[in-house]
């Protein structure tokens, strides 16, 4: 089933307010909003979120994947800069603007395969949403969940309700010590399909393993976004067919094969161009 066949819910700018914020450790927060009567998002979609109280700085909305949908959609936020820090100290009742649901949803799971979800840190959000939607179908995916330390694995307990969870940490402070790809390698076969969300390099490694094993692999793209709905052309990601695709409309959820991972590293990873503007 290709993406274009999925009927995506209508996008709108929702004026709402924060229902509650739950902190997980120091850097993660689950924010739940009031959205009665909204067309819910599909797993994998995201929203562009801003507080009405931000004024002119931070200027832009922040892209965040839905952690859950329905009348009280939630987000999992990692504090890493000015915008996410503000999200991480928002109090119930604060007025928010949520533009969404945006972007493509996860490809519908193949009923004949087992789903392997590969998450890095906060990348858990759209995968957990997918896992929960699978629960209704009687499926229990395998979640391979990696983080730097045991503090970088938010919602791993929660995940155990809908998934079989295996955890890795760089420092061995929880679960397997090492990379999530080491676990993945052993589980790939022609009975599975992979969904992954996390740092670019992790997703690229996951995609490579899947290509080699001929396993379908779906990724969730990340890029700086100004609009989230296809008009600023800021969120370019190098496309396998040449040129660029746009993470907010062609993605975020897309076949790993559609991405030119080499150019992605070349542009995102490398030191930026030097000298005069070109």
């Amino acid at each position: 089933m290709t993406q274009s066949q999925v009927q995506l819910p209508k996008r709108q700018l929702l004026q709402t307010h924060l229902l509650r914020r739950e902190s997980i450790g120091n850097s993660y927060h689950v924010l739940t909003f009031d959205a009665p009567g909204e067309t819910g998002p599909l797993p994998g979609q995201f929203t562009m979120i801003r507080s009405s109280e931000w004024g002119q700085a931070p200027l832009l909305s922040r892209p965040m994947s839905y952690l859950s949908g329905g009348p009280t959609p939630s987000l999992l936020v990692k504090v890493c800069g000015e915008g996410s820090a503000r999200l991480g100290r928002a109090e119930a009742g604060e007025p928010f603007l949520l533009l969404g649901p945006l972007g493509t949803a996860w490809r519908a799971p193949d009923p004949n395969r087992r789903q392997i979800l590969v998450a890095g840190g906060v990348g858990i959000a759209p995968l957990l949403f997918l896992a929960k939607s699978l629960a209704g179908t009687g499926k229990r995916p395998l979640l391979l969940y990696g983080g730097r330390t045991n503090r970088d694995l938010p919602l791993s307990d929660d995940a155990a309700e809908s998934c079989q969870v295996e955890v890795t940490t760089d420092d061995g402070s929880l679960g397997h010590r090492g990379r999530v790809t080491e676990l993945l390698e052993r589980t790939l076969n022609d009975q599975v399909e992979v969904y992954t969300c996390g740092p670019d390099r992790m997703m690229a490694a996951v995609a490579n393993l899947c290509f080699a094993a001929h396993v379908p692999c779906e990724v969730s793209l990340e890029a700086p976004m100004a609009c989230g709905y296809g008009v600023c052309l800021g969120c370019a990601v190098p496309a396998a067919l040449g040129g660029y695709m746009y993470a907010c409309v062609t993605g975020p959820c897309i076949e790993a094969k559609a991405v030119d991972w080499e150019r992605t590293h070349a542009t995102f990873g490398k030191p930026a161009a030097k000298g005069e503007p070109t």
Binding site: C235, A236, K274
Partner: protein
């Protein structure tokens, strides 16, 4: 009842609010949000003769009350625009200003000629001020002679109104605008972005792959208002004001400074309905005062 229509040369707009080039796609991405035909008009993403992929990422980054972009004029090309986008816009009755970009006078002329035959295009806006491309961007817009040359050539190639979009980096902005006026421009759009840079201190490199990008958003607004004010004291053709408009008050600043219409750019990113909200806001402001919108134009100067 207040009249909201404004005249930009021979073109009469329903109201003074347009959307800015590069910030509204091709006007077809807004179906879920509102009816864009209610706007004074839309400016298309900058069109070139051939489709362009644009610059390598990262293309954008945020700055205090602003953002930088170095999109590099990614666009579908004028052919695809005329084939795939324009018919729909025309059918919907959208007022379309085609923003065009080229790296030579001949190519500007070729673009204008190509669009001249197309019904549904209501004006041409010459982007002689793009900071993000190697050739044909800002150098046209910085120099009065070159700006006049492009304007005159396009003027001769089309019957449509020609708007020329100013670069705020021109040392002598008024001189460039006057030269364009003399060369037959119907209106001056002011302003495009000013080049800026953000350095990622952690990895010690510029954040944008292009190193520099154009600054837009509220941070830029006081500069844009000042430039519109200066231009309004120096030229006779209408001015279309642009730069950091996010709400009705901001838009009114430009009208009062002397702009006959305004364009909403970056603000559409965080609220796709910004331009519509501003359009309603200006009408209400006029209704409260019992005046037509044209009475506001340049009022802070009198």
């Amino acid at each position: 009842m207040t009249s909201q229509s404004v005249r930009i040369g021979s073109l009469v707009l329903k109201n003074p609010v347009l959307t800015a080039s590069g910030c509204f796609g091709y006007g077809l991405e807004f179906d879920d949000f509102f009816d864009v035909s209610t706007l004074g008009g839309i400016c298309t993403k900058g069109l070139s003769l051939k489709p362009r992929d644009g610059n390598a990422p990262h293309r954008i980054c945020e700055t205090p009350a602003g953002m930088l972009n170095a999109i590099g004029l990614a666009n579908v090309g004028v052919e695809a625009f005329c084939r795939d986008k324009l018919p729909i816009l025309r059918e919907r009755g959208v007022t379309v200003v085609a923003n065009i970009f080229a790296s030579s006078v001949d190519d500007f002329v070729a673009l204008a000629e190509r669009l001249d035959g197309e019904s549904g295009v209501h004006a041409i806006e010459l982007n002689i001020s793009c900071p993000n491309v190697t050739h044909g961007g800002i150098e046209f817009g910085r120099d009065a002679k070159m700006a006049a040359q492009v304007t005159a050539a396009v003027r001769a190639a089309t019957k449509m109104p020609v708007w020329v979009k100013m670069s705020p980096e021109a040392g002598d902005l008024v001189g460039v605008a006057r030269a364009c006026e003399d060369a037959g421009a119907d209106a001056i759009t002011a302003i495009n972005t000013i080049r800026g840079m953000v350095i990622d201190v952690a990895n010690m490199r510029p954040k944008l792959a292009n190193a520099t990008g154009g600054l837009s958003g509220p941070a830029l607004r006081p500069i844009a208002v000042r430039m519109v004010w200066e231009l309004a004291g120096a030229i006779k053709i209408p001015i279309v004001g642009i730069g950091g408009i996010t709400d009705t008050r901001d838009a009114l600043e430009f009208l009062l400074a002397g702009a006959s219409a305004v364009q909403v750019g970056t603000a559409s990113f965080r609220d796709p309905c910004s331009a519509q909200t501003i359009m309603h806001g200006i009408r209400e402001f006029c209704e409260e005062r019992g005046c037509d919108v044209t009475e506001l134009i340049g009022k802070a100067r009198r």
